[in-house]
């Protein structure tokens, strides 16, 4: 029981961060509850929100739903609470129902203040970058796929970690030693070896060859223990940031 309560509290804190949105939401709910002519919206917006919050908080329903959804994504229940809808509705109604201009703009300023100081501005350079191309994946991923496909009809490739999510977003037919998930023992071994400060080429090439991997791609910044050319892979192509070796 205590574990469930801790999970629920942690989930709520992680979901809401340091924002004031829950406060705005509670104020908005109180507004609708207090207003006499909001009977319809009490049933449409408030009662379901309370039901969902109770389901989220109650340890037994939390236990059941976290088992079904997965404890790591239990926070998705909170998507069902129409938080921004309720806040927007209450603010709009307040703005129009209050005749006193000073009060009106004071409420508006408070809302703007609480929203901005929730530290959630989306359009920052941390969140968005200039697109390298129309696919919005690294140019290197596209270049590597195109070069290898020109050379081979059924390639199987090994790429550094930073390129793993992108190869298959460009080319659905190309095979990879491993992707975002490394399932086999060989794949896991190579994945960790490729992540080391100095990449043990003997391990990488041996396991790649065993798994019929005919192209190896390394980042120019990776330090290799030896050259793959000593292990049956020939230099194939040098790109701006990557180097490709091909199985002889």
């Amino acid at each position: 029981m205590r574990e469930m309560i801790n999970m629920v509290v942690d989930t709520f804190i992680n979901f809401n961060g340091n924002s004031f949105y829950p406060i705005l939401f509670v104020i908005s709910i109180l507004y609708i509850i207090i207003k006499k002519d909001e009977k319809f919206n009490k049933y449409l917006l408030i009662l379901p929100s309370i039901c969902i919050i109770l389901i989220f908080l109650f340890p037994i329903t939390a236990y059941v739903l976290s088992k079904i959804l997965g404890a790591k994504v239990y926070w998705r229940i909170l998507w069902l609470i129409p938080m921004i809808l309720v806040i927007a509705y209450s603010l709009t109604q307040t703005f129009y129902n209050i005749s006193n201009k000073t009060k009106k703009y004071l409420i508006l300023l408070s809302f703007i203040f609480l929203t901005i100081f929730s530290n959630g501005f989306i359009f920052t350079s941390d969140n968005f970058n200039v697109s390298e191309n129309i696919y919005k994946i690294p140019n290197a991923a596209i270049e590597i796929c195109d070069i290898i496909n020109e050379d081979c009809t059924k390639p199987k490739i090994l790429v550094p970690k930073e390129l793993l999510p992108y190869i298959k977003q460009y080319d659905g037919k190309i095979k990879m030693f491993y992707g975002r998930g490394a399932y086999t023992i060989d794949a896991k071994t190579v994945y960790f070896t490729m992540s080391e400060e100095i990449v043990d080429i003997s391990i990488v090439t041996a396991l790649s060859r065993n798994n019929e991997c005919n192209y190896l791609v390394f980042n120019n910044n990776q330090i290799l223990s030896d050259t793959p050319e000593n292990y049956g892979y020939a230099f194939f192509k040098q790109l701006k940031n990557y180097i490709i070796y091909k199985l002889i």
Partner: protein, 343 residues
């Protein structure tokens, strides 16, 4: 060139969903929404058996397009008198609006446009695309559905149970194939141009009901929603984060489009006497919820259950609770199938 293809796709989507929806509503907005629900529901109904029967992606496309085209032709025939009528009232309504209201509406449109444009122009990296977008790409390029592991390209030894019942990436692949767009380009660059305005459009429909078509209030409402979304990334888990970071992913569609649709349908159910169409749409939305995300299979019944309880108390009728339960049947069926697949 890509832009032209996308514009063509938009025109096709608009015409199709309007034709599908006009049989169920006299208004443009509702027709578009109902058509959207119907189009997605039909896709989900036909694709699940096909995935289990290991049909090709081409066979799915031919079947789906044939059904949609047939329904559109039938709609054109049966609704030939009323198809254009809703559009006549738009010009009339715009002329009647005071200048101040028009200005607020323009500001609203501009704010939504700015959000959409930024997401279109710039890149947000999300590693979940390694599965979702890659699944769509694989469907197009291997002419199969959930046959190959999208991380390695090897054949799956067993079905990825968590994902096969929510084949939203296959829908994206289908859309991309209509105009010959690479599905990654469609997802990352162009889909935000469709889905972000769609999310706000549903809020416009909700607000139109809540504010009784007071355009000024609806506009202010949308401006506030926009403001809350633009400052809503205080954690990566919020609906705002999913809307403006990765709307092409099914779970973002669930949070920002399907959930508001459910709320909107309950507004219609609670406000108006003619209910059969709205109950039907809610039932079909269960398929849409399941299509876009495996979360939808669980979250849709939770949401509909809570709203159904509330509606039942409001209307003092147990029948509404039973009807809400019936609308969850598709999710229950998919849930049982998922359990069987997992165990």
């Amino acid at each position: 060139m890509h832009e032209l293809r996308f514009i063509l796709l938009l025109i096709i989507i608009f015409i199709v969903i309007y034709l599908l929806g006009i049989s169920f509503s006299k208004k443009i907005g509702k027709s578009l929404l109902f058509g959207f629900i119907i189009a997605l529901a039909i896709f989900q109904i036909i694709i699940i058996p096909m995935i289990f029967l290991h049909t090709t992606f081409t066979f799915l496309k031919i079947t789906y397009f044939s059904i949609i085209i047939l329904l559109c032709i039938l709609s054109l025939f049966y609704n030939r008198v009323k198809i254009v009528k809703p559009f006549h009232s738009i010009k009339f309504n715009i002329k009647d609006l005071p200048k101040r209201t028009l200005l607020i509406i323009l500001i609203t449109v501009l704010i939504v446009f700015i959000q959409t444009f930024i997401v279109y122009k710039y890149t947000h990296i999300d590693e979940d695309d390694a599965f979702y977008v890659a699944t769509a790409v694989a469907a197009n390029e291997t002419d199969s559905m959930f046959k190959y592991d999208v991380y390695t390209g090897e054949e799956y030894s067993k079905f990825p149970a968590r994902y096969v019942l929510s084949p939203f990436p296959i829908l994206l692949a289908t859309l991309a194939s209509i105009v010959g767009l690479h599905v990654t380009i469609l997802s990352h660059t162009f889909l935000p141009l469709l889905l972000i305005p769609l999310a706000y459009f549903i809020y416009v429909l909700i607000a139109s009901e809540l504010f009784r078509c007071d355009y000024k209030k609806v506009s202010i409402f949308i401006i506030v929603i926009s403001f809350l979304n633009i400052f809503g990334s205080y954690s990566v888990y919020t609906t705002s984060s999913f809307l403006l970071f990765r709307i092409w992913q099914g779970k973002a569609v669930l949070a920002n489009i399907i959930v508001p649709i459910v709320i909107y349908l309950f507004i219609l159910l609670m406000k108006y006497k003619k209910k059969h169409v709205n109950w039907l749409m809610l039932f079909l939305t269960a398929f849409c919820g399941s299509l876009v995300s495996s979360m939808g299979i669980v979250l849709f019944p939770v949401l509909v259950g809570c709203m159904g309880i509330s509606y039942s108390i409001y209307s003092k009728s147990i029948k509404t609770l039973l009807m809400s339960g019936i609308c969850c049947i598709p999710c229950i069926v998919y849930g049982i199938i998922e359990i069987i697949l997992l165990y």
